[in-house]
Amino acid sequence: MCELTSCSTFSLMNKFFLTLLLSISSFVLYAQPKGYQPVNNLSAFQQSLTKSNAAVQTIMSDFVQTKNLSLLADKIKSKGKFYFKKENKVRIEYTTPYTYLLVMNGGQLMVKDEEKTSKINTRSSKTMQSVNRIIIDCMQGTVFHNTDFKVAAYENSQSYLLSLEPATDAMRKMFKKIDVYMNKKDFDVHKLTMTEQGGDFTDMDFINTQHNVALNENLFKIK
């Protein structure tokens, strides 16, 4: 995993942004999302995003997940609660129509379904580390530091859209792309769209989002 501090040296950042801009330029030519324009001043956008996220210690939100099976013209919907606590604690709790819990805390991941609890040490799996990190990066706005993806930034009058294209084979097998939609006003992530290679996609819509509410450590306990 790329530590933020190690990514912050000037020369490395220059190289990173150059690569990023090149990748954005080539991406824009082929896949500019409808209703969005490339972000004019990427550097200013990133600075604002970083500043905004620095002030956020916790996130609590309801979510509605909709799996779109494109070929079948069907949708599968589930609902739940999302919790995030800096730096790397995530709790995704599905409540309807089934119970399913996923907790990430540092290098540990716990999955609990209706019958069983499984614990995984994500440090032993590069793919799990990547999946772990992308969720945190999306919610924290640190996706530009994630080397598993090429990131393109777009905007319209209401939202920013970060479009993530996998840059590694492991991620390419899982995703065709991930789109992160943020409110322009406060940089809140209000929607994630994860598109699989086959064209099916999953939307996660975040509603009733609250920042910096006190979240009990027990929510993130791996037990």
């Binding site: 997940q65 099976l69 079948l72 013209a73 599968i76 589930s78 309807t96 089934y98 379904d113 069983k116």
Partner: protein, 204 residues
């Protein structure tokens, strides 16, 4: 030796005969779509595994069938298709599951569960203690559909060494309906698949 013989032929004591007046195909489910919660538990050598997700059955307009298994977060494990003539095709499967033996096992499980690709001329019937046994010959072994008081409750796939897979059905209240739940027990491969109907979350 006696035990082996008993295991090898669980229904050896039954007298099977042809009976054109009835068939297990009366229990072949007819559905537009159905969603199940699905849990897989098993053991490979000494290592246990556990997998959960959503199993989605859909009959398409062209009469083909799709069965899709995905995890709770929407990531697809596999997507299988049977065309109108019950010919099977893998549309999509993750690398970790893309093993010929596993695909074949899943195909067989789902085919016998949905009463697909059964060789009707091989069907034989036996009656015992109020239970009706419908037997079809497969390329290897047999599949038995066992109905109690006219209700399909058990599906048994047997091979040379005895039972291979048992599917226990609960809540198959109408002959053409899908069961409320089903438990697939793999006696030789040592894993189970448990499915339970989910009713309330599918939106068009």
């Amino acid at each position: 030796m006696l035990l082996f013989a008993a295991c090898a032929s669980p229904y050896k004591h039954l007298h099977f005969h042809e009976d054109k007046s009835q068939t297990a195909l009366q229990y072949k489910p007819v559905y537009e779509k159905q969603v199940y919660r699905c849990v897989v538990d098993g053991k490979i050598l000494f290592k246990k595994f556990h997998l959960s997700g959503i199993l989605f059955f859909k009959t398409m307009e062209d009469k083909s069938t799709r069965v899709i298994f995905q995890n709770e977060m929407g990531f697809t494990y596999f997507d299988f298709k049977w065309n109108g003539q019950d010919s099977f095709k893998v549309i999509q499967i993750i690398d970790q599951m893309n093993k010929p033996a596993l695909v074949k096992t899943l195909e067989k499980d789902l085919s016998i569960f949905l009463l697909k690709d059964l060789n009707k001329p091989t069907e034989k019937i036996a009656v015992n203690d109020g239970d009706t046994f419908y037997r079809f010959t497969l390329s290897k072994g047999y599949v038995y559909y066992i109905a109690h008081s006219g209700k399909l409750e058990t599906i048994d796939n047997t091979g040379k060494g005895g039972k291979v897979t048992t599917i226990t059905l609960t809540g198959k209240d109408t002959p053409k309906g899908l069961p409320d739940s089903a438990l697939f027990t793999h006696h030789k491969a040592h894993f189970t698949i448990q499915i339970k109907k989910i009713q309330s979350h599918v939106d068009e």
